[in-house]
């Protein structure tokens, strides 16, 4: 039985209601929290080893410690609930099933860093999560858990829900900040980093929903209890969103360090319909693909997946079977990145455009022999040269598809058609 820290309330009916949440032990950490010094809290979170669960995997405590201690500018927390990374659907669960856990985590973070205003930036499509979150926030205000003198302390905290409007790039921390300020969500050059100059020019912490939701446990049980789980560099648990060609797709919490394929098989029942495994994308569409052999050999943690040439990212695992076409997958994700590129930098906006055209013609059987090397060259021109990493998020996986499944691409070129079309098992929906 896997350790549940974030998803412990998911199967408890009405856990999104404040009274139920409290019965289940919710908001217990606040009493202890206010007896701790803010810098003690930062230390606790640092030592726990909690890393950002939105995709970047940066140490949460370290990020908080970058915020200057000055008092002449207000500080802000932006909760990143933009959840746009394809394959990811875990923050949604938290917002609908256990929103008070997030609020508790927000309070912990704001106390530690000295923040009195938090904006939860939720992607625009998430109507139900927005509604459920706002209900929970309203409950918290009504009970004095948010607003002035929260929990009867001298600490003020306001939490606002801010709705996005359909732009994946607003999940990038500076893109999110720009969007919150009322502009296009175009990422900013870094430095300066948000911790120093962020929202409205003020020191800002940007944290993912899941990251903040881990905080109540850390305060309640102590950093050691969290750090006891997982591996040396990947502490604690993560909510893995597993989808694609598996029997039971869903969100599954697991401790870092277990074998990737063993975990997937255990929780989802393995590849759908008994098909053979072909490939696994371990960390959202922005992560390089792993072959079946690689997926069976690697354990899920930041260091092992990185050593295998990919990334944990947002923990979005997408499984591909023997019936799935990698060239089609490239076409699908390249259209995604071309659609979502903010358009600032030439390598990204033009590079993604170019990749879409190349992927489409490869899939249609009009690919040319030079296309594969062209894709590799153009991908390397797109990496490390842009304002933000959307360009790398396109180029790194694209390169891995061509490198690891080169034969499949070549078959498309030689046969002048997609060998997987029509699907061998007929119509797939249903």
């Amino acid at each position: 039985m896997s350790k549940k820290i974030i998803s412990v309330n998911f199967d408890k009916p009405s856990a999104n209601k404040l009274s139920v949440y409290e019965e289940l032990g919710g908001y217990r950490s606040i009493g202890k929290l206010f007896r701790m010094n803010p810098s003690e809290v930062i230390e606790e979170v640092k030592k726990s080893g909690l890393r950002g669960r939105g995709g970047a995997g940066f140490s949460a405590g370290m990020k908080w410690s970058f915020v200057p201690k000055e008092m002449n500018r207000p500080k802000y927390l932006c909760v990143n609930a933009d959840e746009g990374e394809p394959g990811t659907f875990k923050d949604r669960k938290i917002l609908v099933l256990d929103p008070h856990r997030l609020i508790e985590g927000i309070i912990i973070c704001c106390w530690a860093v000295g923040i009195h205003a938090a904006y939860v930036y939720v992607r625009g499509e998430y109507d139900t999560p927005i509604r459920k979150l706002q209900e929970a926030i309203d409950e918290a205000y009504a009970k004095g858990y948010l607003g002035k003198h929260i929990f009867g302390s001298g600490f003020d905290l306001n939490v606002y829900v801010h709705r996005g409007a359909g732009a994946y790039i607003c999940g990038e921390e500076t893109g999110l900040i720009e969007s919150l300020e009322g502009k296009k969500g175009q990422p900013r050059p870094k430095p300066p980093y948000p911790a120093v100059i962020g929202l409205f020019g003020c020191p800002t912490v940007v944290n993912n929903v899941e990251t903040l939701s881990a905080l109540p446990f850390i305060i309640n049980e102590g950093w050691e209890a969290y750090a006891a789980l997982g591996t040396e560099k990947s502490k604690g648990t993560m909510l893995f969103s597993v989808s694609g060609m598996v029997e039971r797709p869903g969100v599954y919490e697991e401790v870092f360090g277990v074998n990737l394929w063993e975990f997937i098989e255990r929780v989802t029942g393995g590849v759908k319909g008994g098909r053979r495994l072909k490939a696994v994308i371990p960390g959202g569409s922005s992560s390089p693909i792993l072959t079946a052999d690689e997926a069976r050999a690697v354990s899920i943690d930041y260091e092992s997946i990185a050593a295998a040439g990919s990334m944990v990212g947002s923990g979005a695992i997408i499984v591909l079977s023997e019936d799935d076409c990698i060239v089609k997958a490239l076409r699908v994700i390249s259209r995604f990145y071309a659609h979502e590129s903010c358009g600032q930098c030439p390598p990204c906006r033009e590079g993604t455009f170019w990749l879409v055209r190349l992927a489409e013609r490869l899939e249609n059987g009009e690919g040319r022999p030079g296309d594969l090397d062209l894709i590799l060259d153009l991908c390397s021109n797109m990496m490390g040269t842009t304002v933000c990493v959307l360009s790398d998020a396109m180029a790194l996986p694209a390169r891995s598809y061509v490198q690891k499944f080169r034969e499949e691409f070549e078959r498309h070129i030689v046969d002048k058609r997609c060998p997987f079309s029509p699907a061998p098992n007929g119509v797939r929906a249903g």
Partner: protein, 174 residues
């Protein structure tokens, strides 16, 4: 051709707009929430509405226009009574969304980027909706329709034609 009346927030939206302003230290930051209010009232954002919003927030009209064009969910053209947003991203494609797309075309004469002549449906291919566990997924107006099959899709379409809004299923728990 309808006479173009001047757009202004109705009483309820005006109240919501004033509340919105209080949540941000700058007027500019209220832009996205204000555009949501305006789109909620009018269905889509005309140039006149964009100028109205610019005036209310002391922003240049071209800034508001640029923002409306940047974000996919802000409709600057009319949409059908039921705006179908079918996910075309990876997990949904793996689970058969392209078959649903083909079915919408062949059986229901609904095509991407168009409004049906009776004004009932418009179809947009969208990117990942964040519910890949129940792929394939289609958002209908603001409701998630999940775990779609051809049959389920047909039922939803017939329901919409009869004026019955689709309902979101309770969230799956594991």
């Amino acid at each position: 051709m309808e006479q173009q009346r001047s757009f202004a927030f109705d009483e309820n939206n005006e109240r919501l707009f004033q509340d919105t302003l209080k949540r941000y230290p700058t007027k500019m930051a209220a832009l996205l929430p204000t555009l949501w209010l305006a789109m909620g009232q009018n269905g889509h954002l005309t140039n006149e509405i964009l100028e109205y919003v610019a005036g209310r927030l002391a922003l240049s009209p071209v800034h508001v226009y640029a923002v409306a064009e940047f974000y996919t969910m802000f409709h600057t053209e009319p949409v059908g009574r039921y705006h179908l947003q079918l996910c075309r991203n990876l997990s949904c494609t793996l689970c058969g969304s392209e078959d649903l797309l083909a079915h919408l075309a062949s059986h229901h004469r609904v095509f991407p980027g168009e409004i049906t002549r009776d004004g009932v449906f418009s179809l947009e291919l969208v990117e990942c909706l964040g519910s890949c566990g129940t792929a394939p997924v289609m958002r209908v107006n603001d409701v998630y329709c999940e775990s779609l099959t051809i049959e389920k899709l047909d039922r939803i379409i017939e329901g919409c034609r009869a004026g019955v809004d689709p309902e979101e299923e309770p969230m799956e728990i594991h």
